[in-house]
Structure formats: structure tokens, C-alpha cells
Assembly symmetry: C2
DNA sequence: TTATAAAAGGATATCAATGTCCTTTTATAA
DNA sequence: TTATAAAAGGACATTGATATCCTTTTATAA
């Protein structure tokens, strides 16, 4: 399971993408409200994202968050990596420090399939691909369609 | 990812099973050492397991932990359910409160596959099945074979 | 040029998971 | 019957994730 912070981050980025497509740069307040996350906490997460160059921002009046040209096609993995680290893609499901094909825990073979399946998803899906699903009405960002 | 507590619980139960097959009832000290977990914390987890009838114990001199006849074929799901709850099998991967086939988040279809795959594993694998792999030398409980 | 609106940043608070310590209860061996 | 060994239980400590608040910096509109 992803951490709450990571969930907020991904939802925030998707919302920024949708607003950017409407030629808008949303601010913290608008983003937090839309993704149903606490405002100050959302601000912190957006800070992490901009510091790590996953997102761009402009300060001051009329400012807000947006993607620049280097930041299209951000994968979910990129976001997870920056927000909570990628331990979940390496860790043994049984909790062993030393667990690999040569020295497998009793869950190793089965767990690997699931873990790698998830890795594949987050390496394939991008902020843009998720946003498109919402734009096309095939998915929702919160309880209602946008 | 399972919580640390759940990992300790599963490893502890597997070790108890292995020792039971040798006609022994391990105590907290022996269990904690074998699974490389803090002793007092392991004691708490074993308490949870016995209170929830997943494991039996005998107090006093010569006492220890063991499975009784009602407790064979415990699935990993049973353990997870008792130790950390089963939120991870229901929760939306994107963090939405309302997410289902009619009202899907943009990760819904893909995430469902992974989540259900994991559910299938923990409903199929049992403390006994894991223990057998170790007994047969096909897997390890810690860094070395038992 | 100044007032204002917005992100950035620092300090602190809260909460749940993890971990420790000490006392109580209970069974058995001596 | 008593000393001892073991689990059970209660209280507390630590840590990391989550969350809040206030100040500083910066860009723009008036």
C-alpha cells in the first residue's frame, strides 16, 4: 500500500495536470480542496515535489503550480520514489534482510509476482495517463467527475 | 507491504510450527531470537495471537507456545486479519474513499489485479505450507537454514 | 512604489506503530 | 509446600508519518 503522502502527491499532480490543460495554474488551496487533503500538509508535499523537480511553481500574486516541458510523462514510480522511497519494490514480503533467489523466504516466489506486477504498473502509468482517463470520463479524481 | 508486526507474527508462527514438529514448545526468548525480533515486542504479538485463538500457550515452568488441533491450516490471511486488519485488501490504491467498478479511480483496474493477486496468496498459503518449505530445505526462516 | 497574494521554509503538535520495563498470574520441579 | 520458570498484562518510551501554524521570500497588480 502506498503511504497517504504518496496518494496525496499523485492526486495533486493529476489535478495540476488537468488544470494546466485548461491553461490554469492551481494554488495550494484549490489543490488541497480538490484532492480532499489538509491544506498545510498538501503545501509540504508540493514543496517536496518542486524541490525534486517533479513539478514547477511560481511564487507571488497569480502564481501556482504547473508542469514545464521537462516534466511531462512523469511515471507514478518517479513520484513514489521521491515521496516515500522505493523500499516496497525491494523488500522481502516475509521481512527477511537476506532474501533472494538463492536464499528465498517461503513467500519469495509468490510475492515476487505481485511486487513486480505493481512495479510494472507504476512504471507504466504516468500522471498524464491517469489524467487522460479522468478527462475522458473513464475515471474520477474524487467522488464526482470533474 | 505487511506491517513489521505482521511479519514478526508470521515468522513466529512458522517457527513454532517447526519446533512443534520436533515435539517442542518454544518460549518467547527462543522465538524472538530465531526470528530476529525484540523479545518484549514479540511477547506482545504472541499475546495477541493467543488471545485471538490462533495459537495456544501454557504458562509456568516448562510452558511455551504450540498449536492445538483447531489451529492447523491457519492461513496468512487469518494472521494478517488479527494483527493489522484487512484494510489493504479493500483500500483504493489511489486513496479515494469511494472507488469501485461504477466509480473507479484511474488506477482501479490495474491495482485490483495486484491487490487480488496478493489476497489470493495469503488465502492459499498457510503457516503449515510455509513451514513445510523450510522443513524440506526449499526456503529459509532467517539467514541460515534451520 | 506599495499593498497584496502566493509559494517556501521553519518550528512544533498529534497520532499510531514500534519497542521496553516491570508486575502479576500460573504451572511445575524440587 | 515452596522456589522457580514461564506467559499475561499494564504502563510507559521512542520513532516516524501525518498535520498545523507562523514567518519569510517573491512576484505582480494597483
Amino acid at each position: 500500500m502506498l503511504s497517504k503522502s504518496t496518494e496525496y502527491a499523485i492526486r495533486a499532480l493529476v489535478f495540476v495536470q488537468l488544470r494546466n490543460w485548461e491553461q490554469k495554474r492551481p494554488g495550494v488551496g484549490e489543490i488541497a480542496k480538490e484532492i480532499e487533503a489538509p491544506e498545510a500538509y498538501t503545501a509540504k508535499i508540493l514543496q517536496t515535489l518542486t524541490k525534486n523537480k517533479l513539478l514547477d511553481s511560481i511564487k507571488g500574486r497569480g502564481g501556482g503550480f504547473f508542469f514545464n516541458d521537462n516534466q511531462s510523462n512523469l511515471t507514478l514510480y518517479d513520484v513514489i520514489h521521491v515521496v516515500e522511497g522505493d523500499a516496497c519494490f525491494h523488500k522481502c514480503g516475509f521481512g527477511l534482510k537476506q532474501c533472494n533467489n538463492d536464499n528465498p523466504c517461503p513467500l519469495h516466489e509468490n510475492y515476487k509476482v505481485v511486487r513486480d506486477g505493481f512495479f510494472d504498473i507504476v512504471k507504466t502509468e504516468t500522471v498524464k495517463s491517469l489524467s487522460e482517463k479522468i478527462l475522458h470520463g473513464d475515471a474520477v479524481l474524487n467522488r464526482l467527475k470533474l
